[in-house]
């Protein structure tokens, strides 16, 4: 059964979309990640125009983050003050990101920038995760225990504008979280991702936040940043396809439930290693597409549209 997507202006099999949503939803439930960083490239692979894939995926992430944050909120694992600072940065970043997106589209480089951003960020994250998880697996086998400090203080924490974040047990400058939030906002606008894959490690390793509040707090920020991206893309580029977002969502919601159940049977480092391999496979495909000589060197674009 085909469905005509009104903004993407292509007709796609509805079961393919629901299945894709379900598969990514399953992975995101399994690994506890947003899934946008996998969904956007896959949408591009199946022929959705890249700008529509990015903007509509941002819209879908609003929904998945809302359902994710509720569980963390009930357990009291959201640092609203830290979330607020991250969010302030996120608003600035996503505004700049959408402007940059619109400009890149008119000069015909948006596809390239979307793909390169994925290669760059997913490549780094995938490699780091693979190294870290294989070390953890080896360590578990040899039985050594490495002790770590609660958190370390770097010069970035001593910048001005210090604030107390009670829930995160931190007294640090507001500038680093603001900057992280802004960077994630830019990525949300350009890549159609929540940015959790970047924000979560940054919150743990750079800000030194306790792991337990990290996921809930990042989801809190992601809801508002992706909502802002949805809104700004709607008014500047008109690339948000609500039909696409809702169809994907239907699959993702169900997939995530199965994924989180399946996740209980696997160990943390094994999960991370598996996710790293999936991420690197997507990077491999993106790199392959960029490097291999295209079938046709020429492509079309009408000015001001996709």
């Amino acid at each position: 059964m085909q469905v005509y997507l009104p903004i993407a202006e292509v007709s796609i099999n509805v079961f393919l979309l629901v299945g894709l949503g379900g598969a990514i939803g399953f992975l995101s439930g399994l690994f506890g990640v947003g899934g946008g960083f996998l969904m956007t490239p896959l949408l591009i692979f199946i022929g959705i125009p890249a700008p529509v894939a990015v903007a509509s995926e941002a819209n879908q992430i609003v929904a998945s983050s809302v359902s994710g944050v509720i569980a963390h909120w009930r357990r009291g694992n959201v640092d609203f003050k830290m979330g607020g600072v991250l969010l302030a940065g996120g608003f600035v970043g996503s505004y700049l990101g959408v402007e940059l997106f619109a400009w890149l589209r008119t000069v015909g480089q948006i596809d390239l920038v979307i793909r390169l951003s994925f290669v760059f960020f997913l490549g780094i994250i995938g490699t780091l995760m693979l190294v870290e998880s294989s070390r953890a697996i080896l360590r578990r086998r040899s039985g050594t225990v490495v002790r770590r400090k609660l958190h370390q203080h770097y010069w970035v924490h001593r910048l001005p504008l210090r604030m107390r974040f009670r829930k995160s047990k931190l007294y640090i400058s507001a500038i680093p979280p603001f900057t992280i939030g802004a960077l994630v906002g830019v990525l949300a606008a350009i890549m159609g991702v929540g940015g959790g894959f970047l924000m979560v490690p940054a919150m743990i390793y750079l800000l030194g936040m306790p792991t337990i509040v990290v996921v809930g707090t990042s989801l809190f920020q992601i809801i508002f940043v992706t909502a802002n991206v949805t809104f700004l893309q709607s008014i500047t580029t008109q690339t948000v396809d609500v039909v696409l977002a809702l169809v994907l969502l239907a699959g993702a919601v169900v997939g995530a439930q199965f994924g989180s159940r399946a996740g209980q049977y696997l160990r943390g480092e094994q999960l991370r290693g598996l996710l790293a391999l999936i991420v690197l496979a997507v990077v491999g495909k993106l790199v392959f597409d960029l490097v291999v000589t295209p079938e046709d060197l020429f492509s079309l674009g009408a000015p001001g549209s996709h």
Partner: protein, 254 residues
């Protein structure tokens, strides 16, 4: 409903075909519908073009989508990866192009007529917009022009094959052709030209319009997104929040 559309049109045609000595050959034609409606379940659609000519000759039907300035970009390899480097913009290139003919084009149309009446994608008048600093040589331009046609053919928007115009052998010369409009067909007013040719030259022409427009839910969503984009953005967010909330509520009750 399709059949209903034929009856009145044929009545008109038959009047036209009444014996008429000393008049130039006449041509009249119509389409099986005025509008191609792109609905949510749209997977492409056939439109039937039909008509009658009271003189001998061949029939060619040319369908052109609304003209648009179209950018053709060429990738070059920059430090290992393929990047869009050069581009040429063609003014008013048709966004859709299809031809139907009652015989092989190279046999029934003279090269001059083909060029004059833009019969066959190769004969489209595609002029690059010259910019002050980026003058395009003729050789370059023709490579980009070929690329435009090739890309549009691959996308199915320049129909790759010449559709067949069916002409009965004798008697009243009624003709009929079917052209497929794929699911990615651009919206707008299409120009349909019916040409009657004798010895390779166009002796009669007849023009109709065909409207391709979104209809139903997809039309409403598209119009809403473009005309009231602020509200569209807000609705998109509200829908997403509601869906996320609903999902978490539904699954936490189990």
């Amino acid at each position: 409903m399709r059949r209903g559309a034929f009856a009145p049109a044929f009545a008109v045609l038959l009047c036209l075909l009444a014996p008429s000595a000393g008049r130039a050959a006449q041509l009249a034609a119509d389409l099986s519908r005025d509008t191609v409606a792109i609905t949510t379940g749209f997977v492409g659609d056939n439109v039937i073009f039909f008509g009658a000519a009271d003189g001998p000759g061949h029939i060619v039907i040319v369908v052109e989508g609304p003209p648009e300035d179209t950018i053709v970009r060429r990738k070059s390899r920059v430090s290992g990866i393929w990047i869009n480097r050069h581009s040429v913009t063609f003014a008013n290139a048709p966004s859709f192009y299809a031809v139907a003919a009652s015989g092989p084009l190279d046999k029934i149309v003279s090269p001059r007529s083909a060029q004059k009446f833009r019969i066959g994608a190769e004969n489209l008048e595609l002029q690059p917009i010259q910019r002050v600093n980026a003058r395009v040589s003729e050789g370059e331009a023709s490579r980009f022009r070929e690329a435009l046609i090739r890309n549009q053919r691959r996308a199915g928007l320049f129909r790759p094959n010449v559709a067949k115009v069916v002409l009965p052998p004798e008697g009243v010369r009624l003709f009929r052709a079917e052209i497929f409009f794929p699911s990615n067909v651009p919206t707008g007013a299409y120009r349909v030209r019916f040409l009657l040719l004798q010895d390779g030259f166009v002796i009669q022409r007849f023009e109709r319009r065909l409207l391709v427009s979104k209809a139903g839910l997809s039309a409403r969503v598209f119009r809403f997104a473009h005309r009231e984009s602020i509200w569209y953005g807000i609705v998109a967010i509200v829908l997403a929040v509601a869906a996320g909330w609903g999902a978490s509520w539904a699954f936490s009750r189990k």
